[in-house]
């Protein structure tokens, strides 16, 4: 199949790149390897939470933080993509979210500190309206509300962790649990089942009244696991919050992330119905390069390899899961150009035993040129018309610095611009 520009991936970087191409009137095809990384990640947009992997002091102003990071580290992917790409890409994303019916808030100017499911603060600057009331820079006491039988959110754990770190006094954090109509503990259920049930008005109203009965005091805010609707979330959130009678905020839970699912599903539908073709179920690999240009990549389609001949390619893949990298016991290779991206004589060098320390595997990826083309690390592109975006770019840990979203936006936008010019 021939096309103008092929975007490979289904995470935020791929979506931003595709939208950038669409807005510029270019004919983009979006090729999926499988479900989006947005299903597994937190689904706020984190631009820069921590300036490096060792500090515990969160960044207050993400845009200024990125500017400083670029000045200090001229080879960081943010520096390669450029601050302008972050700004323009963010504007594009915010406008797109609005067009697709989302009510998101925030800007590059300021990070909120939003509580996680284990009660730790997480810096994020773009977030759904339904999370905003959780900001830990505000002072109102918090009640974490769990649901009986739903084990992916333990309100007591969140409350006990937060009360130790937050410092707003003994009475500032509490935990409650309410039972849910129709969900008894003998039933196995997930956040997805709950989110579907919350779309039902009567269910929602009953849960809200049970929460109201549990909370006898005024001036608190209520944190619930992010299950307030799967597709009709805006209405679900506002009506539920009104019925609870206190400010309500959602807290992301273990994968699959309902917040990520909402985001991906609606953006995908929006871009697809506005004319961008998607090729589902087709992992991409094998770049055919001649004279410094990529002529073709292949998709693993049913029955045979399906060739894609594009003028330019945006490879917006993330990691091992979506096929950006292939990891053997010692070596990590890239499936497009067959470079060795990392080699570990002892396989355990790739990981740190503590889950909460920086993981060496997180920064494995493709070396890129200053135009985000893949390179052998010598500054020369392996193919002039291929551009990388997102987590597969080497040399940074998007999880550790809480910068995954911002980097996806900046590199997705920049890669799309470069692909148009190629």
């Amino acid at each position: 199949m021939k096309c103008d520009i092929a975007v490979v991936g289904s995470g935020l970087a791929a979506l931003v790149a595709t939208r950038t191409l669409q807005q510029a009137g270019r004919n983009a095809v979006l090729i999926w390897p499988g479900l989006s990384s947005l299903y597994f990640t937190y689904a706020t947009v984190d631009v820069l939470g921590y300036s490096d992997l060792t500090t515990t002091q969160p960044v207050e102003q993400p845009e200024a933080g990125v500017a400083k990071l670029i000045a200090d580290h001229p080879n960081h992917p943010y520096a390669l993509a450029g601050l302008d790409a972050l700004r323009s890409g963010t504007t594009l994303l915010i406008e797109w979210l609005r067009a697709a019916g989302f009510t998101w808030q925030g800007s590059l100017a300021r990070n909120l500190l939003l509580p996680t499911a284990i009660g730790t603060p997480k810096p994020s600057c773009l977030y759904p309206e339904s999370m905003a009331a959780g900001d830990l820079q505000r002072d109102e006491p918090i009640v974490f509300c769990g649901f009986v039988g739903y084990e992916d959110f333990v309100p007591e754990l969140a409350a006990s962790n937060l009360s130790r770190s937050w410092g707003r006094g003994d009475q500032s954090v509490r935990a409650i649990r309410v039972s849910l109509p129709g969900f008894d503990t003998s039933r196995l259920f997930t956040s997805i089942d709950l989110a579907r049930s919350f779309e039902d008005k009567a269910f929602r109203r009953e849960v809200a009244s049970r929460i109201r009965r549990e909370i006898a005091i005024d001036s608190v805010r209520v944190g619930v696991p992010a299950v307030l609707g799967l597709t009709h979330d805006t209405d679900v959130y506002s009506s539920f919050a009104a019925e609870v009678g206190h400010p309500v905020f959602e807290i992301p839970t273990l994968p699959p992330s309902v917040l990520g699912l909402r985001l991906f599903d609606r953006l995908r539908k929006h871009i697809q119905e506005s004319g961008v073709e998607m090729i589902w179920a087709a992992p991409a690999h094998e770049a055919e390069v001649s004279d410094g240009q990529c002529r073709r990549i292949y998709l693993k389609s049913a029955g045979r390899e399906h060739p894609i001949d594009a003028r330019a390619y945006v490879l917006a893949l993330e990691d091992m899961v979506d096929g950006a990298l292939r990891a053997g016991v010692h070596t990590v290779v890239d499936p497009f150009f067959h470079q060795s991206l990392a080699h570990h004589a002892v396989p355990t060098e790739r990981t740190d035993e503590s889950l909460f320390r920086p993981q060496p595997f997180a920064s494995i990826g493709y070396a890129v040129t200053d135009r985000l083309q893949p390179s052998a690390g010598d500054g020369h592109p392996l193919a002039r018309n291929v551009f990388l975006a997102g987590g597969a770019i080497a040399g940074y840990d998007p999880v550790g610095t809480k910068s995954r979203g911002g980097l996806a936006i900046a590199t997705g936008y920049r890669a799309a611009k470069e692909a148009m010019a190629a």
């Binding site: 199949m1 021939k2 095809v29 390897p33 499988g34 479900l35 299903y39 597994f40 039933r187 196995l188 997930t190 997805i192 089942d193 579907r196 994968p255 699959p256 699912l261 539908k269 697809q272 119905e273 073709e277 998607m278 090729i279 589902w280 179920a281 087709a282 992992p283 998709l299 693993k300 389609s301 049913a302 029955g303 045979r304 399906h306 899961v321 979506d322 096929g323 292939r326 990891a327 053997g328 016991v329 010692h330 070596t331 290779v333 499936p335 396989p347």
Partner: protein
């Protein structure tokens, strides 16, 4: 000693992901149209890879509810680790049926070709019967086929006979073999005629090798041996075609069986080689277009259309060639409706205990179709078309129908 196994390890993960490749991410459950519509279905993750881990044990895991999997394969389409979720479910269901026996209804629905042959031979009578409330009441009681489900009309003249009787066009630069499938043969001969006319209009000779049911009705009705028998016959005959003859299918699911399931689900020898030569009709015509060989002499077709992509088309991994093709025709206004599975899934929505569920799954699509109010809804899959007509009261057609009109073969 651990040795470097980059090549073999990564290829194992991608080509035929073992059950261990499942990371339990639950992505499949979020997209499963059945899990979305009924809480009694425990979802593809549990019934597929999770239960699979125990099925090879001496005390094999007994998993109830396997028959609620409709076989749409959206779980496999969305699995980031390319696990063959639905194939595990099908194999387990087949094993259960082989041990416990299957119902008369499932036996009959698995033998769709026999049923259709009978329907076609007795066409006027069969069609009358299928619309008679008393007959339908009896069918529901005896066979478990829901009385509200419209059954397809049979035609007396089959595509096969029509094709052998017609004058053969041999002045062509290329030859393709047409796998028409039971639907075109017994129910919608006109679609087959259009496929032939369009290919010949583009200078391609069409041959029709002798063929058997693709086997998908047998697969989804827990009769894998029958499917393997049908598939084996097809592979044998199609393997005998000259090497430069491509194989074209106009039914999405037949095409997917030939391309993929014969080799991967049914392990039919020689199926890989055949599958690599199979093309969906729109995929093939688009390839012609890209090679500059498609006749673009279209008459304008002034119409507003909605396109529904069948779930199994997504499994082909070829995008939506029908949309690309139809956008070449002047006058065609085409939009995509993206509301997921229509709910019928072949014989699934025909069954008395699944009819309501199938209509519930399709309800989002029906609402979108009604709201759009276009002249027709296009879908490459015949049972999607049946379901949209039934659920949304809309006219429905194969994309080829519009292309045929543009060529003056409407």
């Amino acid at each position: 000693m651990i040795t470097d196994e980059v090549g073999t390890f990564s290829d194992t993960v991608e080509e035929a992901a073992p059950v261990e490749a499942c990371t339990k991410c639950t992505a499949c459950n979020t997209v499963c149209p059945v899990a979305r519509s009924t809480e009694i279905f425990r979802g593809p993750k549990f019934l597929g890879p999770e239960s699979e881990r125990y099925r090879s044990q001496p005390e094999a895991a007994v998993t109830a509810g396997l028959d609620l999997c409709s076989g749409c394969k959206l779980c496999e389409v969305t699995c980031p680790s390319q696990v063959s979720i639905q194939e595990y479910i099908r194999r387990a269901q087949n094993k259960g049926a082989a041990e416990k026996g299957r119902t008369l209804r499932d036996w009959v629905l698995g033998h769709t070709r026999l049923l259709s042959r009978f329907g076609s031979m007795t066409a006027p009578l069969a069609n009358l019967g299928n619309r008679n409330p008393l007959v339908r009441w009896a069918m529901e009681r005896v066979l478990g086929i829901h009385h509200k489900r419209p059954l397809p009309r049979y035609q007396w003249l089959t595509f096969e006979r029509w094709f052998t009787r017609r004058p053969h066009n041999k002045t062509a630069r290329r030859t393709v073999a047409y796998f028409y499938g039971c639907w075109v043969n017994y129910n919608e001969r006109r679609l087959g005629e259009q496929v032939v006319a369009i290919l010949e209009r583009n200078g391609i000779e069409v041959i029709v090798p002798k063929q058997q049911c693709c086997g998908i009705p047998a697969v989804v009705n827990a009769n894998m041996d029958l499917a393997r028998k049908y598939g084996g016959e097809n592979v044998r005959r199609l393997s005998g075609l000259p090497a430069d003859v491509d194989i074209i299918a106009s039914s999405t699911s037949c095409g997917l069986m030939l391309k993929h399931d014969y080799a991967h689900l049914l392990d039919i020898p020689g199926a890989e080689q055949v599958g690599a030569r199979v093309y969906d009709i729109c995929e093939y015509l688009w390839m012609l277009h890209e090679a500059g060989e498609l006749n673009l002499d279209f008459q304008p077709v002034s119409t507003r259309l909605l396109y529904h992509a069948p779930c199994h088309l997504k499994s082909h991994g070829i995008g939506y060639p029908a949309m690309r093709l139809l956008r070449l025709i002047p006058g065609v206004q085409l939009e995509e409706v993206d509301e997921g599975c229509c709910g019928i899934s072949g014989t699934f929505g025909v069954k008395v205990e699944k009819y309501d569920l199938s209509m519930k799954i399709g309800s989002r699509l029906f609402a979108a179709v009604k709201a759009a109010g276009t002249d027709a809804v296009l879908a490459d899959c015949e049972t999607c078309r049946m379901q949209v007509e039934h659920g949304a009261g809309a006219h429905s057609a194969h994309p080829i129908d519009i292309l045929a009109r543009a060529y003056g073969h409407g």
